[in-house]
């Protein structure tokens, strides 16, 4: 228990010390690499600005997550329930992944404007595939014995999907959600970089252009904290929602 809090703290302290040592050792000017203290000052002094922009980014991440998860889940269910859908949509889905999503960002901004919509779309796009493929995979890998049982019990295809295949696929779905949560901020920030009037990505680009590297680092730090907090929140939520899942991999602690 102590280790869980203590170890990351030691890691953080060592990293910050190394950062400070690098600044002292190389003597780089502040506008190239500010030392941790300056970043802390920027974080404190510009808290209002950073907070304002952070709200936009959080909104975009959450919006993208919600939309991407819903779309991904619906697609996976459609693919697994309708055979023709599987035949016709699967190749399209795989092919669509060959297009780098980032290349679409300028187009999305052109179509949806500088507001939040284009960033939400970007995050949705980046989340969509991992959610769909993880969930679809889970739906395909139902224990065959359960399906045999459902058949002898006279369950319809629909009720078997609802009562057996869907809950059985939830752990796989959950791992898709974890990946989605980790990549959603990337989508939002890339969208902001291409064209925005608010958001942490916009703030970083803006600060960078004015040599306010300390502010840029402060914004980056905020973004990292938001991403990590979001990930742990989702992870904790999923653990609570799927209590029958074994919590720990017994191989984790062995090596």
């Amino acid at each position: 228990m102590i280790g869980r809090v203590f170890r990351p703290m030691v890691t953080a302290v060592v990293l910050i010390a190394a950062w400070q040592a690098l600044v002292w050792g190389t003597g780089v000017p502040r506008f190239i690499l500010p030392d941790p203290a300056w970043v802390a000052v920027a974080l404190y002094e510009r808290a209002g600005t950073i907070g304002f922009h952070a709200l936009f980014t959080i909104g975009e991440i959450l919006g993208g997550l919600a939309l991407g998860i819903v779309l991904g889940a619906v697609t996976a269910l459609t693919l697994s329930y309708f055979r023709p859908a599987r035949r016709w949509l699967m190749p399209v889905l795989v092919f669509s992944q060959a297009i780098p999503v980032f290349a679409l960002a300028p187009l999305l901004v052109l179509w949806m404007g500088y507001g939040m919509a284009s960033k939400i779309a970007m995050a949705t796009l980046i989340i969509y595939f991992p959610v769909t493929s993880a969930f679809f995979d889970g739906l395909r890998r139902t224990e065959p014995g359960w399906l045999d049982l459902a058949r002898t019990m006279g369950g319809s295809r629909w009720s078997t999907l609802l009562r057996i295949r869907l809950p059985a696929a939830l752990p796989a779905f959950a791992s898709g959600l974890r990946v989605a949560t980790a990549v959603a901020p990337i989508g939002a920030v890339v969208g902001e970089w291409v064209g925005a009037s608010a958001g942490l990505g916009y703030l970083m680009l803006h600060a960078n252009g004015r040599m306010q590297v300390d502010l840029m680092f402060a914004a980056l730090l905020t973004l990292a904290v938001i991403s990590v907090a979001l990930y742990f929140a989702v992870d904790a939520l999923l653990r609570r929602a799927l209590p029958w899942q074994p919590d720990k991999n017994p191989n984790d602690e062995r090596d």
Binding site: E143, G145, W146, D148, L149, A150, R151, T152, M153, G154, G155, S156, S159, T160, R163, I164, P167, A168, L170, L242, W244
Partner: protein, 255 residues
């Protein structure tokens, strides 16, 4: 509670015999059996013994409607009705759904069929869990139960279906010796009056709970004449006559 259950357990459902005629099965280019005839006497427990890979399970799956019969296989219920919807299936694995408690696992059949789960249905499920000695573990998830307890829940779930024909595929083979003996007794008691097919590779198990015992062997496989041990099941495992029979069966299986 036991009295509450008894009327539903031993309700006089008419027993149905089942016949298979000219069964043929080709698996990977090898003819496992051809022109096989086999009958389940109505209201009796028929045990099918044989080495693994001989096709016992496939024969059971044919009757369960889980495998498509190869022509000219004929499957006949002796009252002329269909087999579908009148068969309950119990496998070697308990096939309990890990996200459901014991009671909800027993209620799986009615749920899958979209039946209304009224108080009477829940009471019956409770009564069955009570009859298998798990009346106090209604909410327990499979992960909280031992292997023997899980198989008892599976037995309750099989009985909940209330079908005249019960097909069991090595239902107790994954259990330890003592638990197995107890469960055999419980199953023989609770399944009395139903048409049962029990596939097993344990001669003692067959002798304890079978009215008629067949040995399936050879390639293509054939089913030998019925052995009908004296006395009514469940027979005590230390009966000398039974042990003599066991030696005979072992000889037949080995040849």
């Amino acid at each position: 509670m036991h009295d509450l259950v008894r009327p539903t357990l031993s309700a006089p459902i008419p027993s149905i015999g089942v016949r298979i005629e000219g069964a043929r099965l080709t698996y990977g280019g090898v003819r496992l059996f051809d022109g096989l005839d086999f009958a389940l006497e109505g209201g009796r427990c028929t045990c099918l013994l044989g080495p693994s890979g001989v096709g016992k399970t496939t024969l059971l799956r044919l009757i369960a409607g889980l495998a498509d019969p190869e022509p000219p296989t004929k499957l006949i219920a002796e009252d002329g009705g269909p087999l579908e919807g009148r068969v309950a299936y119990m496998a070697q694995q308990d096939l309990l759904l890990p996200w459901l408690g014991a009671l909800d696992n027993v209620l799986l059949g009615p749920r899958l069929r979209g039946e209304a789960i009224g108080a009477a249905v829940v009471d019956r499920a409770r009564g069955l869990l009570d009859a298998v000695g798990l009346g106090d573990r209604l909410r327990a998830r499979p992960s909280e139960l031992s292997g023997g307890m899980r198989q008892r829940v599976a037995l309750a779930r099989t009985l909940m279906e209330d079908r005249p024909i019960v097909l069991m595929d090595e239902p107790f083979s994954a259990l330890d010796a003592i638990t197995r003996l107890r469960l055999q007794e419980m199953a023989a008691r609770l399944l009395a009056g139903k048409t049962v097919l029990l596939v097993t590779h344990d001669p003692l198990e067959a002798l304890r709970i079978g009215h008629r015992i067949h040995v399936m062997a050879g390639q293509p496989a054939e089913i030998g004449p019925a052995i009908s041990p004296e006395g009514t099941p469940p027979r005590p495992p230390d009966d000398p006559a039974l042990l003599a029979r066991q030696a005979e069966l072992l000889r037949r299986l080995a040849s």
